[in-house]
Point group: C2
Chain length 369, copies 2
DNA sequence: CTGTTAGCGCGTTCAC
DNA sequence: GTGAACGCGCTAACAG
């Protein structure tokens, strides 16, 4: 692979001149510029990012660490991140942590070794121990979706407490009193917030809380399936189920199917996180759709400000609200009045996310300010 | 950020010794090793990947370039790629080309500058012009899903000709004679193959081909929606629609809904690429499920062989077969005999992909051979 | 077993 | 306007 030296030799100039032409910094005579450009083209020269990064202390890369990229919620966040990053000439390295703090830690260390310019992460753990190296090495970091205690970084997340209240109130308004919560891992802030909102809504309605109906474990589909099954097999099963995310909903769905329970006739089902493709094929699952794309774009904007040093104050927290999409899985009537704000009616919600732009920004790479 | 020199100074040894301890290559006395490890730990030392890469001519990164990561088909491929890459200590940079040859070219150049160790790509164009820099710089490359003419690289793809035949025969067996094909961009090999298989199946059945029923354009949902609409609004609309991928199916679905056509009573609908989440919520769309996860893992294996030099012969092509998942959208009876191999019966197909392992490999990073 | 040395390819002073 | 020279942090000989 041709180096800057090869180009310099062919163009009959010094490497400094080539560098000036390629990076566009510094004065070069039009004549030399032509020579260099011609030589670079002839050789198919591509600057070595590692050498450049070693010198400039910048890789032009940011890391996005999510629990599971196969989950459309995180995929959508990733598009938001990439679209904003690319406009600033940054590119995104993606990593799946599989909800494992150990894997997360390994990725964090790898990213530091890669000398990424910043990290956006949906942390798996309750504490920040796996993120500590980021702080120690002062790598700009932004948390998305989830927060952790005691880690001083910007956060972009949705309001899960209010969200859970909205969903629970919807079920209560439909007459349900025995509502099960199939929650994710309590180490994550969203799981704790969703449980809190759930309890608050029940308390508001003066519905006694049956602790056997509240289940938490991992965020994996199979686990949700098993836990839902256990609850359904009890003496007094719930009449409604609230799943803490789209994967939990799929697990619950499997469990209900195995038992031949009809939705919503036998059991109502609602969940956090829309499943856009599924909604598109059959607008069925009533869901609280979080603004995933926006979470990605905002998180990246905050990160860019940290990277460029435009913003140096103490951590910011951006809390976004979500939309209730009322569809068929809870048996709500079309057009009925509903409790809660941000309600989007229409049981056949068209599934087009209001969150993600239909036409994506072109993403012409530009230089980071 | 601490450097190898800082560690050497604190440990009272030379940088070479530190390097030996950190990279695990070469002999070091237990005593020195302890010193180094302690110093590294105290300083929170993380080796600089760019400096290392500059020296070793290896970044430890591979690039995966896909048209749209939000499409579950490509997401699943990406998991396959990551799972295999991580086992070899490689990590994955992801890029969306948005079906644009220009964006693809920009990414290719960026990846060469990043000095990725290899590239896996689902190319957007018909020719290899945007990939040419990879060849010129002899960057190991593997094509997934799609192939392009005149580019000497390993290919891992599914058999779209046979696939389209299988889907078309299924529709023919159900009595359909006016079948529309909503195809993707003819610049992609899969679009051409799918059209070829479609035509072959019709010819086999001695069904005259009405060219007005064959439509190609982009791979975007909105475009598929518009083209489906145009065909549905003709004098003699089709009784069945074959969508060339999951996104095309969603576009067709929208178009059918807007016109109040019922599926399958008024129009049958089948497509390439399963939509796992949607199938999970409601196993509705009859689809030809391609082994996406396996495509990702195999492509990565081939790439690793190229990177390590284990395999140097001329390009290989791996062609995988797909499964027909018969569900409700075509009105097939449960248990009826079906034309074509690799048929998986069961209109309520459980949606669990046989392709992707339920438990993912742990992915302990190891050194690339 | 360990230290010295020489670059990997680039950007960046500092002279000219 | 341009070139010479240094060093970013690391690994790989080569001595010792």
């Amino acid at each position: 692979m041709a180096t800057i030296q090869d180009v310099a030799r062919l163009a009959g100039v010094s490497t400094a001149t080539v560098s000036r032409v390629i990076s566009g910094r510094g004065y070069v005579s039009p004549a030399s510029r032509e020579q260099v450009l011609a030589a670079a083209d002839a050789l198919g020269y591509m600057p070595n990012g590692m050498a450049r990064g070693l010198k400039t202390q910048r890789s032009g890369l940011i890391a996005l660490l999510v629990p599971e990229i196969v989950n459309s919620f995180y995929t959508t966040i990733s598009r938001g991140v990439e679209d904003v990053a690319n406009v600033s000439g940054l590119h995104v390295i993606l990593g799946n942590t599989d909800e494992s703090v150990a894997k997360e830690r390994a990725y964090v260390e790898l990213m530091i070794s890669t000398r990424v310019d910043g990290v956006i992460i949906a942390p798996a753990g309750r504490t920040a121990t796996s993120l500590e190296p980021l702080l120690a090495n002062s790598v700009p970091t932004v948390l998305v979706d989830r927060s952790v205690s005691g880690f001083p970084a910007d956060v972009v997340r949705a309001d899960s407490i209010t969200g859970a209240q909205t969903l629970t109130r919807h079920l209560l308004a439909l007459g349900h009193r025995r509502i099960a919560l199939i929650n994710g891992h309590r180490d994550t802030s969203v799981a704790r917030d969703r449980e809190a909102g759930f309890r608050t809504a029940l308390a508001e309605a003066q519905v006694e809380i049956d602790e056997r109906l509240i289940s938490s474990g991992t965020w994996f589909i199979d686990d949700a399936e098993a836990r839902t099954g256990a609850i359904l097999d009890e003496d007094t099963p719930p009449t409604a189920i609230l799943a803490a995310n789209n994967f939990m909903a799929i697990g619950a769905l499997r469990s209900l199917r195995e038992r031949g329970r009809r939705i919503p006739q036998d059991v109502a089902l609602a969940c956090f996180d829309d499943i856009p493709d599924a909604a598109e094929v059959d607008p069925f699952l009533t869901a609280l759709a979080q603004p995933a794309y926006t979470m990605g774009t905002l998180a990246t904007r905050l990160l860019l400000e940290r990277i460029s040093g435009t913003f140096r104050d103490s951590p910011r927290e951006i809390v976004l609200s979500s939309h209730l999409l009322i569809r068929r899985s809870c048996g709500a009537q079309l057009g009925e009045s509903v409790v809660g704000l941000n309600v989007e009616l229409g049981p056949d919600g068209d599934g087009r996310s209001p969150d993600r732009p239909a036409v994506l920004p072109a993403g012409k790479p530009a230089v980071l300010a």
